[in-house]
């Protein structure tokens, strides 16, 4: 059931026409992801902002130039649901900006209200302690996301995470985020293996995640199986190997 949703989500992204960016680039993929999310979730626009662990903003992409400017606003002002979602490591869902948002974000709220936005839904792009950025959905009318839309929005976020981890040569081709499409019995092991590989390689968590996925891809083995071998200490990653 879950795999279906992930597969359908990727098909939606693949169907989007390519933007001005090269088809295979990460930026191009994220733009198409934003465009697909905008259509599938009946929102007015979607944006992805990549962020460093310390919260410094990196690349900003969006479904369209107007949304890109809206996505940018919170980082110019230094406040907003998306920044909060990143910091709190959980979604921040604001179905109606007229309801309490002003006291929470006194500068941000009137600014994007002026741009016509009435609802914002922000989803962190993360796997446990490894964080990559935020996916934001904007809508010009107030109201909550349906349960189905919420589930699909989370899958869009997972697909974005997977693509960011896999890099541009496998953009859109690889599995969804760690754990999502793998056998559920081994989810704990998958995350345990990430922590182990982080120490084995002496790298940040995100890099360890990417290495695990790249290894599974290169060996053509399920990620869950690779993780199991790591936890059982049958497989060890070396600092010297590429």
């Amino acid at each position: 059931m879950m795999d279906d949703l992930a597969a359908r989500t990727k098909a939606l992204i693949a169907r989007q026409p390519a933007g001005p960016h090269v088809e295979t680039s990460i930026v191009g993929f994220l733009q198409r992801l934003c465009a697909a999310a905008t259509r599938a979730l009946a929102v007015s626009g979607a944006g992805v902002t990549l962020m460093a662990e310390d919260g410094v903003r990196g690349l900003v992409t969006a479904s369209d130039p107007a949304t890109e400017r809206i996505e940018d606003v919170q980082f110019v002002l230094g406040e907003g649901p998306c920044i909060d979602a990143f910091e709190a490591r959980r979604p921040v869902l604001v179905p109606d900006l007229a309801d309490g948002a002003l006291s929470r974000w006194p500068v941000y709220t009137p600014t994007i209200h002026d741009s016509g936005v009435r609802a914002v839904f922000a989803f962190p792009l993360q796997v446990g302690a490894g964080r990559l950025g935020v996916l934001d959905l904007f809508r010009t009318r107030p109201g909550p996301l349906t349960a189905e839309d919420l589930a699909q929005a989370l899958v869009f976020a997972d697909v974005a995470v997977g693509t960011l981890l896999d890099g541009q040569e496998r953009a859109g081709a690889g599995a969804a985020a760690d754990g999502l499409v793998e056998a559920m019995d081994s989810r704990a092991e998958l995350f345990q293996a990430q922590g182990m590989v982080m120490v084995q390689l002496g790298v940040p968590l995100i890099a360890a995640l990417a290495r695990l996925r790249a290894y599974a891809y290169a060996e053509n083995r399920p990620l869950a199986e690779v993780a199991r071998d790591v936890v059982a200490r049958r497989l060890r990653f070396d600092r010297d190997q590429p």
């Binding site: 959980r90 989370l154 345990q192 922590g195």
Partner: protein, 243 residues
Amino acid sequence: MTTVSAERLAQVFVEVADTMIDEFDLIDFLHMLTDRTSTLVDAAAVGLLLADQRGQLEFLAASDENTKLLELFQVQNSEGPCLDAFRTGTPVVNADLAEAAGRWPRFAPRATAAGFRSVHAFPLRLRSQVIGALNVFGSQPGPSLDDADVPIVQALADIAAIGLLQERAIRRGELLTEQLQGALNSRIVIEQAKGVIAQARGVSVDEAFTLIRDYSRAGNHRISNVARAILTDPAQLSELVNP
């Protein structure tokens, strides 16, 4: 067989109320609740699963964490007492694992192999919604919960559900999603931290969890905060991370 002492039960309720006024952390709260439930009904293990937005049951906390038990929780995504309690909204009580291989062909043999004899599952109900299940395992032959225990454990499950909404602004349905997704991610952070400690100290992931839990308890830290620090700032925790 066990009958819950009224005094012990009162203590648990006071403790729960205390947690709710304090600054609230869902994972710590659920750990405490599974721990106390286990002591109250003299269970071998108690765990708690919550449904995520995709309708998958996800493990969040248990009285005891070891790899075998974690697998027992995870397998209940496809079958098992928790899935039954979650789908029907009614408790599964005193299921004899020796006779459950037909009902749960994957779950029952694994639970038996892990040393359990009986199993129970109580739905976590929030208004009209079922949002997860509380799983109780017994290691003695025969029914491990008596009739008087059942409503008590169900009450504890109901408290767990209320705990999910325990933030200042309870009004919004969005908050449940935010809380749940945050807690699920904290759960992943704990698994990642187990891996770091297991590798850095050359121990099993089960032993790693014990080290993290003991460190958190000794310093009165939240386990999710300690787990996150292990991953983001291990130098700060050198006594825990380094052998």
